[in-house]
């Protein structure tokens, strides 16, 4: 089926609907009109009955005539039900059929009430004509049927009532019906003509409606498009990050967007309408900027593009703007105004200036900063500090990669180290290493690398801090602390040395007296031997007398003991001195296999004078403890610090609890690949707050002059940084503390985790409670 046929079919369908609607509308009107007619007829019938035959008589007695009842009751029935249908169900075929029946029966009733007057029979023909208003030929069927049935029944049973004779001619009954049919036929023809006209009207209306709908649809579509374009334009105007305005040729503003109105302090964009440039821009701005000048005298052939100007906003702030303007033309090309815009770039300019300053700061920073490609690892950018430190050529940076200046670290090693570190959520990698200058010299650095984007390419940014000074400072600090410890221990050590030395001195004094007596004894012995009085008989008695005189037996008995005692005291002194020597050794640059048990033993000797008055020291050292690579002097300091702190904690507790017995226990044990050293005391213990700061530099709970706050800080640094170990602390107030040092048996250069490096000193302290 072609499109035209489809359209025609659709149109006919629509015309059918319209025809049905029109027809039903008219039928509804006819229902209502006939309902009124029925009601009037009812009244008329009742009036007729009362007027013509109000009573029936039997002699002098009268009764209400049956016509009156017929008019009231019969007329009521003929009226009420059809009127009910006409009111509530108008337009329905059954309604009009009932209406037709009622109207024709009303004809019969009226004829009857009016005594069968010939004139009253015209009511039938009038009623039939009235039914034509329904424009439904079927409505004549009940009407004609009623009349025909009435005549048929009357002709059969009361022929005289219709024809006036008892035996009418056979066709006489048909004659009456024929007249009815005659009229009905013409009425039906009229109805058909009316319906045809109505159909034509519906078809015309359908066509007009479709044309109208089509036109309306086009208008709606076009309106929607225009509306959409308006909204887009409006959205663009309001959302564009620029102030936009337009003016007519007389210099009056026709409109602007919100940014423009806000810039000049107007409540709404509509407030700009009708204003002139000098109403919103201070005169000095107007005279100095080219935007207003162009708008005041637009040149049709010139556009103002990206001109940087300064404007004062409503608060008086001077703003830097990027302006543009063009003339507006109508569809005939006539210039009718100016469209101008400006973009507030003050913030951008400030940011640009700040970025330049920051770039200069970074570029000129003495600290090293370099950026290298995340794929090729070739340098992309580096600041002056980096270039200067390494002695590189700024022009050849792109050929340099980190492996060229990081000692003993290939790009592959660095890639692996970065990939491991970047897998953490923070995505940063920090470590200490050594940079090699172009001339081959080296210097320690701390490198902090993070991922970033530089000029739209993924890169790694490395911040380097020269550790030469800080490491030297750290060494000096460690040495100072060591000296501090030695100083604090000096008196005690002197006392420790003094005691055996006094023993030595006493024994030496005794031995001096002893050998003088021995010499006197031997001299007496020689004299006796050379004496003539010495005879064999009295030799024994003379020798006994000599021995008694010089107490030889006492000397013989006591002298070896004195020698032994002196020897032991000397050994004790030697031990102390050896321990001091070991501790005060400035330290070696490399790790050596170290006996931790011996270090702990020596530390206990050196610090004995600090604890022996307040506690006992129990060493529970594992005899099978292997030697581990370590810096012995530094670890000695660690153990001394821990023992001294434990002794101080016990002494502090004893001040309030003099009867308590202090005890320091040092134990060593091998745990897999690590060696664990525990230094436990039953001193005052630490609160959580103290525990969290105990490894911080310069933090101390001791009185002024007793501690510098550097001992545990250095302990942490020595264990973690130099030995890649850990220091944990368990403590409970008034119960005691336990420092747990774990040292790896295979130490290598530790990598400083950036998370630790970033955190405060407090948080980087490992603590067990």
């Amino acid at each position: 089926m072609s499109e035209n046929k489809i359209e025609t079919s659709s149109q006919l369908q629509s015309a059918d609907d319209l025809f049905a609607e029109h027809l039903q509308s008219r039928q509804i009107n006819a229902d209502r009109a006939l309902a009124v007619v029925l009601a009037l007829q009812w009244g008329f019938a009742v009036a007729c009955a009362f007027w013509i035959s109000p009573y029936t008589w039997i002699g002098s007695q009268n009764l209400v005539h049956i016509h009156v009842w017929s008019a009231i009751l019969g007329g009521g029935m003929l009226t009420v039900f059809p009127v009910f249908l006409a009111i509530y169900f108008p337009g329905q075929r059954m309604t009009r059929m009932i209406m037709a029946l009622a109207q024709m029966q009303f004809s019969a009733l009226l004829i009857h009430l009016m005594g069968g007057r010939i004139e009253s029979h015209f009511h039938i023909f009038g009623s039939l004509a009235f039914l034509a208003f329904y424009k439904d030929p079927w409505v004549f069927l009940p009407a004609v049927s009623v009349v025909s049935l009435d005549h048929l029944i009357r002709s059969l049973y009361w022929p005289e009532s219709v024809f006036g004779v008892l035996s009418p001619e056979p066709l006489r009954a048909l004659e009456h019906a024929a007249w009815i049919i005659f009229e009905t036929v013409f009425l039906i023809l009229g109805v058909r003509q009316n319906r045809r006209s109505l159909w034509q009207l519906a078809k015309l209306q359908s066509s007009l409606t479709q044309q109208r709908d089509l036109l309306e649809q086009r208008v709606r579509n076009r309106t929607s498009e225009i509306e959409q374009q308006r909204r887009i334009l409006d959205t663009v105007l309001q959302r564009i990050p620029a102030a936009v305005f337009w003016r007519d040729n007389d210099g009056n503003f026709m409109g602007c967007n919100e940014m423009f109105s806000e810039f000049f302090g107007l409540k709404t964009p509509n407030d700009i309408i009708g204003k002139r440039m000098n109403d919103i821009i201070p005169p000095n701005d107007q005279t100095t900027n080219r935007l207003s000048s162009f708008c005041d005298s637009p040149d049709e052939n010139v556009e103002l593009v990206n001109i940087e100007e300064t404007l004062h906003d409503f608060s008086g702030d001077c703003r830097t703007v990027l302006t543009g303007a063009t003339s507006l033309h109508d569809h005939e090309g006539n210039c009718f105004g100016t469209l101008g815009s400006f973009l507030d770039i003050t913030t951008l300019k400030n940011a640009e200036s700040r970025a330049k300053s920051l770039a200069n700061l970074i570029q000129e920073s003495p600290n090293e900063l370099y950026i290298f490609d995340s794929e090729t690892y070739h340098l992309v950018e580096a600041n002056t500090g980096f270039v200067r430190s390494l002695g590189l050529d700024q022009d050849n940076l792109s050929k340099v990669s980190p492996e060229d200046f990081i000692q003993d670290c290939s790009n592959q090693d660095l890639r692996q180290r970065i990939s491991v570190a970047m897998s953490s959520p923070r995505g940063r990698c920090a470590f200490d290493t050594v940079h090699v200058r172009k001339d081959g010299t080296t210097f320690p650095v701390h490198v902090d690398i993070h991922r970033s984007i530089f000029e739209a390419r993924p890169v790694f940014v490395a911040f380097c801090t020269d550790l030469s000074d800080s490491q030297a400072m750290e060494r000096q600090l460690a040495q100072a602390q060591k000296l501090e410890s030695m100083g604090q221990l000096a008196a005690g050590i002197a006392h420790e040395i003094n005691t055996p030395m006094q023993c030595v001195s006493g024994n030496v004094e005794y031995l001096t007296m002893s050998y003088e007596r021995i010499f006197q004894f031997t001299d007496g012995l020689f004299e006796l031997l050379n004496s003539p009085s010495f005879t064999t008989e009295n030799a024994h008695s003379q020798l006994d007398a000599l021995a008694k005189k010089h107490k030889y037996s006492v000397l013989r008995e006591q002298t070896p003991g004195a020698v032994e005692e002196a020897s032991q005291a000397v050994m004790r002194v030697i031990e102390i001195v050896r321990a001091m020597k070991a501790m005060s050794h400035p330290g070696q640059q490399e790790m050596n296999d170290t006996d931790l048990n011996m270090l702990i033993h020596q530390a206990s000797i050196i610090s004995r004078n600090r604890y022996k008055y307040v506690s006992e020291l129990e060493l529970d050292l594992s005899p099978d403890l292997p030697q581990i690579p370590a810096y012995g002097a530094e670890l000695s300091q660690v153990f001394i610090n821990l023992i001294v702190n434990a002794a101080d904690a016990i002494a502090e507790r004893k001040e309030s609890e003099p009867e308590m017995e202090g005890k320091i226990t040092i134990s060593t044990i091998q745990n897999g690949e690590t060696v664990e050293i525990r230094v436990r005391d039953n001193g005052t213990g630490m609160s959580e707050d103290v525990r969290s700061k105990v490894f911080n530099q310069f933090f101390t709970t001791k009185d002024v002059g007793k501690g510098t706050g550097m001992g545990l800080s250095l302990t942490y640094n020595i264990v973690s940084s130099k030995h890649n170990g850990t220091v944990l602390v368990e403590s409970e107030p008034n119960v005691g503390s336990c420092f747990i040092v774990n040292l790896p048996m295979n130490t290598h250069q530790p990598v400083v985790d950036e998370s630790d490096a970033n955190q405060s000193d407090t948080s980087r302290v490992p603590i067990l409670t």
Partner: protein, 218 residues
């Protein structure tokens, strides 16, 4: 603002040709009500027709006219004139149809017919009781005699017991027809009574010499 909000419905106008009839379908119960309604009406009409076609009582009239001229009211009449005597109840509305039929009858025959109306007057009632539309209508008939009939005695002597009943006497005073001249109560129209009397007066053989009478009882 470039964009100005407009009411999307404001451009629409009512279509003068647009019709939207509102109607409801008739529920099936009303079809049954309609059938009952039609049946009741049919019964009512049957009852009405039956009432209208039920004749009133009547009896045989005397074979000769027993009427003598009433004192003061008789009009002289020729020996060739036919006489139609009608019993009239002055209040009976059905009699109006009989009078109309009589008038139609008189218009069909020559002027050799005299009419006598025996107007019923109940005993012991006001003489004016008979005045009314019917009585005044009687005076419009030519060659007629209006005679008050006390208690309907005169009519009863002629065998008439129902208003509208007529008895026709030929010029010799012989009774030739008696009965009603309407097809039913208060119903005008061609009927056998009028036709028979008309044929009788015109010297033809009537189809009937007696017909039922429809009207109020005297």
């Amino acid at each position: 603002m470039l964009y100005r909000h407009t009411d999307p419905g404001s451009h629409q106008i009512a279509d003068p040709l647009e019709v939207h009839p509102k109607t409801r379908k008739i529920p099936p119960v009303l079809y049954r009500v309609a059938v009952v309604w039609a049946c009741i009406l049919a019964g009512l009409f049957f009852a009405l027709i039956a009432y209208g076609t039920t004749p009133g009582p009547s009896s045989l009239p005397p074979t000769q006219s027993p009427l003598r001229p009433a004192s003061g009211e008789l009009q002289s009449s020729a020996a060739t004139d036919w006489e139609v005597v009608m019993a009239v109840h002055p209040k009976c509305s059905c009699t109006a149809a009989s009078l109309n039929e009589l008038n139609r009858l008189l218009s069909q025959v020559d002027d050799n017919v005299n009419c006598r109306f025996l107007v019923y007057h109940p005993a012991e009632t006001d003489p004016n009781w008979i005045d009314g539309r019917i009585t005044s209508r009687l005076s419009e008939f030519h060659r007629s005699t209006i005679q008050a009939d006390e208690a309907g005695e005169a009519a009863r002597e002629l065998g008439m017991q129902t208003s509208g009943a007529v008895v026709v006497f030929d010029p010799h005073g012989k009774t030739r027809f008696h009965g009603g001249i309407t097809v039913s109560r208060n119903h005008e129209g061609d009927n056998l009574g009028v036709r028979s009397i008309s044929m009788l007066i015109q010297g033809q053989t009537p189809p009937l010499s007696t017909t039922p009478v429809f009207g109020c009882r005297l």
